[in-house]
């Protein structure tokens, strides 16, 4: 084998090795790590600003029995579909010693319907009876591993996650709901009973992450 042939063989070998390695690369995805059931609420001392101008932390919002965090926004049709359940569930949580805060993580489109002014207008027009704060740079959403709006995280009095996922199983019609996941979870949390299911999934709008 002359030097030229040896050189060619080495190149072929290198290409084949690279192709072989590529085959073992993991499947590409972008699924962020969502905090797991039992995990402590992250960034509980991070300050966020509510539509009223009040500066808050999750620690301060939490009630004696826990905390309900809803990642939501102004521009998603799924939020609109579920919105008629926001106030009743917040009232129920409040009556059961659970603090409620809604965080808006849509950092990439603050100038397109998701600014603080837009949030203030939405809170007023929908008569929100809970905190609605801006998640600057979507830091909270990232730490929680939230993916969509709406996206629910319910914590107990130790600030450990006890339920996450959907509000219920029918966005379009509160009357046609079969499974009231979040309401059931709140009732069971307060009653000290086992929550089942602890995680659920539902369709929603992707969070518009900062670019």
């Amino acid at each position: 084998m002359n030097a030229m042939n040896l050189h060619k063989s080495l190149i072929v070998l290198l290409i084949l090795s690279a192709a072989g390695l590529l085959a073992f690369l993991p499947v590409e995805d972008n699924f962020d790590d969502r905090i797991e059931i039992g995990a402590k609420a992250p960034l509980t001392d991070l300050e966020v600003t509510d539509v009223s101008g009040e500066v808050l932390t999750l620690e301060e919002v939490a009630g004696e029995n826990g905390l309900l965090v809803n990642f939501s926004c102004n521009t998603c049709p799924w939020v609109e579909a579920w919105e008629d359940r926001y106030n009743p569930i917040s009232k129920m949580a409040d009556e059961n010693g659970i603090g409620v805060i809604m965080l808006n993580p849509n950092a990439a489109i603050r100038d397109d319907g998701e600014s603080m002014e837009d949030m203030q207008a939405r809170a007023k027009s929908s008569d929100y009876n809970f905190y609605y704060a801006l998640d600057e740079g979507a830091k909270m959403a990232e730490a929680f591993g939230a993916t969509r709006t709406p996206d629910i995280f319910l914590f107990n009095s130790d600030m450990k996650l006890v339920y996450t996922g959907a509000i219920d199983d029918n966005a379009k019609s509160a009357q046609a709901v079969d499974q009231h996941y979040l309401k059931d979870a709140i009732q069971k949390l307060v009653a000290g009973k086992e929550i089942d299911p602890k995680t659920t999934k539902a369709l929603g709008c992707t969070i518009k992450w900062p670019k």
């Binding site: 499947v27 590409e28 995805d29 972008n30 699924f31 969502r34 049709p77 579909a81 993916t147 969509r148 996206d151 959907a166 199983d169 029918n170 966005a171 379009k172 079969d178 659920t200 999934k201 539902a202 369709l203 929603g204 709008c205 992707t206 969070i207 992450w209």
Partner: protein, 173 residues
């Protein structure tokens, strides 16, 4: 003389009809019912696996109200045309039932001329039928090779290059 004028008129009429039909053919020779079929998660799973051994498959869940879905949709249509012999695209609309006509109108505008699906049933079994990884955020894309192996799946919108890179991997080009 009159006769030849009449022949010219008749011929012109037929030519006009023929050419206007050419314009209508793109994306129009499929009925609404075939273009957008109702499907549950289980039915979609079956439809996806029916291409195993035949073609690579790109599954894309979209909705007319979802801005990133609308932005990336034409890229997928282009790539389906480019790799038509080796790739099938399964579009699934997750629009609310009352928006079915909007979805159909959009598909026609995008010149989609093959069967796509309209999600029916509850969210959770629908999401789980398509992927264990997917949280339910839209858009969602999943690419399988000809043998049904998962090549890539992701939430959020994507650029043309990302779709093509994974399609090429799926069809081994």
């Amino acid at each position: 003389m009159m006769k030849s004028k009449q022949i010219v008129r008749i011929l012109s009429f037929f030519l006009l009809v023929a050419f206007s039909n050419v314009g209508l053919t793109v994306g129009q020779d499929i009925s609404d019912k075939e273009l957008l079929k109702n499907a549950t998660g289980a039915e979609l799973k079956k439809a996806i696996s029916s291409y195993k051994g035949d073609k690579a498959v790109l599954v894309n869940v979209w909705a007319t109200w979802c801005a990133p879905c609308i932005e990336e949709f034409p890229y997928i249509v282009d790539l389906k045309q480019k790799y038509d012999d080796e790739l099938h695209v399964i579009f699934i609309s997750a629009d609310f039932p009352g928006q079915r006509d909007n979805a159909l109108e959009f598909l026609r505008k995008q010149n989609v001329d093959w069967t796509t699906y309209f999600k029916t049933g509850k969210d959770q079994p629908f999401i789980e039928a398509l992927s264990d990884d997917w949280s339910g955020a839209l858009p969602f894309t999943k690419i399988l090779d000809q043998e049904g192996n998962l090549i890539a799946n992701w939430e959020q919108g994507a650029e043309y290059e990302k779709f093509e890179r994974h399609i090429k991997k799926a069809i081994k080009k």
